[in-house]
Symmetry: C2
Subunit: 214 residues, 2 copies
Amino acid sequence: MAEKLQDSYLAAHDQLYRTLRMRIMYGEMRPGQAITLRGVAEEFGVSVTPVREALKRLAAEGALSISVSGRFQTPVLTNDRIEELAALRALIEVELATRALPRAHMALVERLQTINNAISVAVAKADAVTYIRTNLEFHRTLYLRAQAPAMLATVETVWLQMGPTMRALYGRLQRKDPPMHHRLILAALKAGDEPGLRVAVRADVTQGLRMLAG
Amino acid sequence: MAEKLQDSYLAAHDQLYRTLRMRIMYGEMRPGQAITLRGVAEEFGVSVTPVREALKRLAAEGALSISVSGRFQTPVLTNDRIEELAALRALIEVELATRALPRAHMALVERLQTINNAISVAVAKADAVTYIRTNLEFHRTLYLRAQAPAMLATVETVWLQMGPTMRALYGRLQRKDPPMHHRLILAALKAGDEPGLRVAVRADVTQGLRMLAG
DNA sequence: GCGCGGCAAATGTGATCACAAATGCATATG
DNA sequence: CATATGCATTTGTGATCACATTTGCCGCGC
C-alpha cells in the first residue's frame, strides 16, 4: 500500500470520502448531480475499488442517493423531506446548544464572533459555498463544547443531506444581511440565557423555510 | 452477476448488509466482537468485495467500529456514550410519537398490543434477542405512523449502535415484568393524551439507565 | 518459569478483469 | 416530423490477485 507523505496515513478511500463529503455538505454540487465510479476514479488517479467504498459510505449517510440501477447522484429533496430534516436539526441542535451553554466561556464567544464576521463577508460577496461552510463552522464550533460526539455526528449527517439543496436554495434566498439569529445566539450565550438560546437556535435553524411553506 | 431467485433482486452486498445489520441491532453479537472480511465472505459464499461494502456501510452508521489497523468489531460503548445515545433516542422518539399520535387509530393500537404480548412472552422466556427485536418492532410500528422517514432512519441508526450493548445489559437487567411503560404509551394513545404520551415514551427510552448511573 | 525475538498466518487495501444491465445516441420507419 | 429500433458505450458488481501490515503463536534464551 503506497503510503502518503510522512504524516497522516490516510487510506485512499478515506481521503476520497472526506473530499467528496465536503463538496456535498458545503453545497459545491447541485441536487440531482450524477457521480460515477470511473469519473471519480480518474479524477483522483485511483481505481474504482476505493471510490466504491467512499460513494457507498456517503450513500449510507444519505449524502448520495442510489437509483434503482445503482447509479449515484446527490439527493433531490422534496419539501416534506426538507421540512423534516429542518425539524431534526432543530431538535438536536437546540439540545447541543443547551449542553454547550454552561461550558461556553468568553474565548468561545469571541471565536464565534470571528466566524460570524467571516459569514458576513461571504454574504457580502454572495459566495454561497463559503457562506454555507462558515455558517456550519459557527454551529459546529458551538456544539463541540457540548461534549456530545454522537449528537454532533448525527446532526452533521443531516447537514450533509441538505448540502446540495441548501446551495440551490441560497440563490433564491437573496441574502443581503449577515445572519441575524447568530447575534441572538451570541447574546444569549453571553447572558447565560438558556431559554433565549434555545429560541434563537431554533429560529436560526428553521429560518429560510418560510419561502418554502409560503 | 448471478441473479437470485425470480423475485427481489438484491445485490449481494445489500443482502449481507441487511443480514448483518439485523444481527447487530437485535443483539445477536457481543460488544467488541470481531468481524473479518474473509470470515463473512466464507460464511455467505461470496468474495470479499461485497463484504467490504457491507462492513464499511455498517461502520459508517456506527454499527461497527474500525480499529487503527482497519479491523472491524462491534462497538464497545462507554457509559457517557450510552447516556448520549439514550438522550438522542428520547429526543427523536418523543417527536416521532407526537407526530404519530393524531394518526394513531384503533387498528394501530391493537397491533401494538399484539406486539406487546409477544414482548411479554420473550421476557417470560428470558429470550434477550427476541425481546430486543419485538421491543424495537413496537417502537417502529408506532413511529411509522409519523410519516417521518428521515427521523425514523436516524433513530434506527441509534438503535443499531446500541444493539450489542443492549444485549449485554439485558443480562444484568434481570427483567421479570413485561414493559410497564408500553402500557402507559398505549393508554396515552387511546386517550389522545399528547403530554402523557411524551412522558411515557421518554420514560420507556431512558429506562434501564438507572443501573448505569447508580 | 518468564520474557523476547522471529516467522507464519491472517487481515485489510487497492488494482484489474469479465460480465450484465442500463443508458443514450444514431438510424430507420411510420 | 415524430416515434421506435438497435447497437455501441457507459456503468455498477463481484471475483481474484498481489501486497503491506498486523496479529499471534512457537521456540529460544535468560
